[in-house]
Amino acid sequence: MKKVKSIFMKPTILLGIAAVLLLGSGVGSARAALTYYSDQYSASMDMSTIGVSLKENGKVVSSKTYDDQGDATTNGEGKLLQNLLKDDEKFALGKTYDEKLAVENSGNIDTFVRVVLTKSWQDKEGKNVDLSPALIELGFNQDGWVINEAQSTDERVVLYYTKVVESKKTTPDFMKTIRISNQLSTMYTKVEDKKTIKYQYTYNGYTFTLDAEVDAVQTHNAKDAIKSAWGIDVNVNDDETKLSLG
């Protein structure tokens, strides 16, 4: 007994044991999602990959999909609103423009997904300005999607898809349209120069910006996985096919 104790008292040995444990832990974490399940299930999950893509008007604009080696592949330019207006069309205040956004499961395991949309304004120099993001009006679709009001503000909207997104399937559009409030048409200045009267819109040359972040998480042990990844408590039904906000 005395001998055993002395071994553990030697720091170099302790360090060695720690290193071995750490090496082993790498395997553990890579398979952590599988430890709740049988060996057979574990074997099938070995090739599991998770992936998510954001689609704008039917085209993938951004995606991140992992392969079975754990390496991520990204696709798309990551840009939104590049084709907002048709050729020769002029931008108009208050006009509703199509901006259809949806999420595709580009991996091979089922996922739950959520989207965080952030709206902002930049001035002519590209600096962020304190103009109300509420003037950027987004048209949402409630088909399977739910807005978490508790997490949303004028600037940010957080939407959860309440159903599982199966591999290679695309959700219904969570957003359909974008519109800039016609309130901006009442904000102008009058410039009088001798016989000439000119009017200038206060916010001419300003840019409205939309950022969309899409998160996906495994459906197995979804409640804990979502808590861990997104930091939010959700309710998940027993067969892990639907979620609802608490």
Partner: protein, 165 residues
């Protein structure tokens, strides 16, 4: 003393290494995310309109041109002496309204011109009092930018009227 410190430090390092074991498992869920960003720079401005008025035996012929870069709606108001009889040949595109204005009922696109508004007049009978009198018909034109209402319909907001000289 020095030896003791080395032991202590190594032991602490070992403990820290072991304590991180739990973190690996907590991060072991399958997750991914992607994002995209984009903006649109708004080109907002006021247009400018010019009125062309020709007078001949058939009256005054008014055509308004949108000389600016933005679409608009236009309307005119006609002022004339009380004893001049005025009537309008509106064509299909002009419309009289109870508020005293005559409205062009289409969007006047950038660089486009309206169809003609013909203002006809009948002079009063000539007598000694008015034989040398001149009569004026004054046309005021106004425009308002094209905007969309909350339902996405095109509207002319005549509460917001602009004149350019």
């Amino acid at each position: 003393m020095r030896k003791f410190n080395k032991k202590l430090v190594l032991s602490i390092v070992a403990l820290v290494m072991i304590s991180t074991l739990g973190i690996g498992k907590a991060l072991g869920y399958f997750t991914t995310h992607t994002n995209a960003t984009g903006g649109y720079k708004m080109d907002l401005g006021f247009t400018d309109t010019k009125i062309k008025e020709d007078v001949d035996k058939d009256g005054k012929h008014v055509v308004i041109t949108n000389v600016g870069d933005y679409d608009c709606f236009v309307r005119v108001k006609v002022f004339a002496a009380d004893n001049l009889k005025i009537r309008y040949n509106l064509g299909e595109d002009w419309q009289e309204s109870g508020d005293g204005y005559i409205y062009y009922n289409k969007v006047l696109s950038s660089k486009d011109k309206t169809s003609e508004l013909n203002i006809k007049y009948t002079l009063p009978e000539v007598n000694d009092d008015n034989k040398d009198k001149d009569y004026n018909i004054v046309v005021i034109q106004e425009f308002t930018p094209v905007v969309y209402d909350d339902q996405g319909n095109l509207i002319a907001n005549w509460q917001q009227v602009y004149e350019t000289e």
